[in-house]
């Protein structure tokens, strides 16, 4: 897994490439919580190049969302591949996370 931080319209975008699993999710958790500690109003996660996510990855993002909720921060997921969207749907996490098809969609208030 590779994590890159980019910006889009002055917002932070976390671009993840590869597999989010038990061996890589601790790194993702550390980076995510470090960013959330600075209380960004919105964090975008670009899933375009994510090939796999397991329950540890899901738990990492739930923890991240819970860290943002107290101050009103928003965690937005962008371009989730169908097989990953399927898991989010089964777990009803598509009702919890803000999921968008593109950055343009995600940037709309």
């Amino acid at each position: 897994m590779k994590i890159e931080l980019t910006s889009h319209s002055s917002h932070i975008v976390i671009v993840i490439t590869g597999e989010i699993d038990m061996s890589s999710s601790p790194e993702l958790r550390a980076r995510l919580l470090e960013l959330i500690h600075k209380k960004p109003p919105v964090l975008f996660v670009d899933f375009t190049s994510v090939s796999y996510i397991d329950s540890s990855g899901i738990a990492t993002f739930v923890e991240g969302l819970k860290g943002m909720m107290p101050y009103g921060g928003r965690l937005k997921f962008v371009s989730i591949p169908p097989k990953i969207a399927e898991i989010f749907g089964f777990a009803k996490l598509d009702k919890v996370f803000e999921i968008h098809g593109s950055m343009d969609d995600a940037l709309r208030p």
Binding site: S55, A59, K66, K83, A91
Partner: protein
């Protein structure tokens, strides 16, 4: 009759789970190369990975045995590890997202296993837990 198409014994580490997932994926695709099988193989791999993660995290075993068999109905993934008997909850579902304790950060693994395959069997023999996952896949 089911034919074993892949088997290995791994030291229980999460790095080994990642590597084994790739090896199991290759064996699945070799036996079911048709494009229509790909999403079904993907679902089996998700369940298999959660089962391997659980064995690494909870069994305390020194090694984990993994076997993949191809049968007339589809693929059968079996994982065996020594440890305390594991009895799955009677009802397995995804965690309640609207519960009084707020969003749950765990409890997704067993639900993913249950959801992604057609049959799950838990057994305990000779001090080892065996979990068998069956995914129906058509050869045509």
């Amino acid at each position: 009759m089911d034919n074993t198409v892949f088997s290995t014994k791994i030291e229980p580490t999460f790095e080994n789970v990642s590597a084994t997932r790739l090896a199991v994926e290759a064996a699945c695709k070799k036996n079911y190369p048709q494009p229509a099988a790909e999403p079904l193989i993907g679902e089996l791999l998700m369940a298999a990975t959660e089962a391997m993660n659980n064995a690494v995290e909870h069994s305390g075993a020194k090694e984990v045995e993994i076997e993949l068999a191809a049968g007339a109905q589809g693929l059968i993934f079996r994982i065996k590890a020594a440890g305390k008997r594991f009895d799955p909850p009677a009802e397995i579902g995804f965690p309640d997202l609207d519960g009084p304790d707020g969003l749950p950060e765990g409890g997704f693994g067993l639900a993913i296993i249950r959801e992604m395959v057609d049959a799950v069997d838990y057994a305990y023999n000779d001090g080892k837990n065996t979990i068998t996952l069956t995914k129906y896949i058509s050869k045509s």
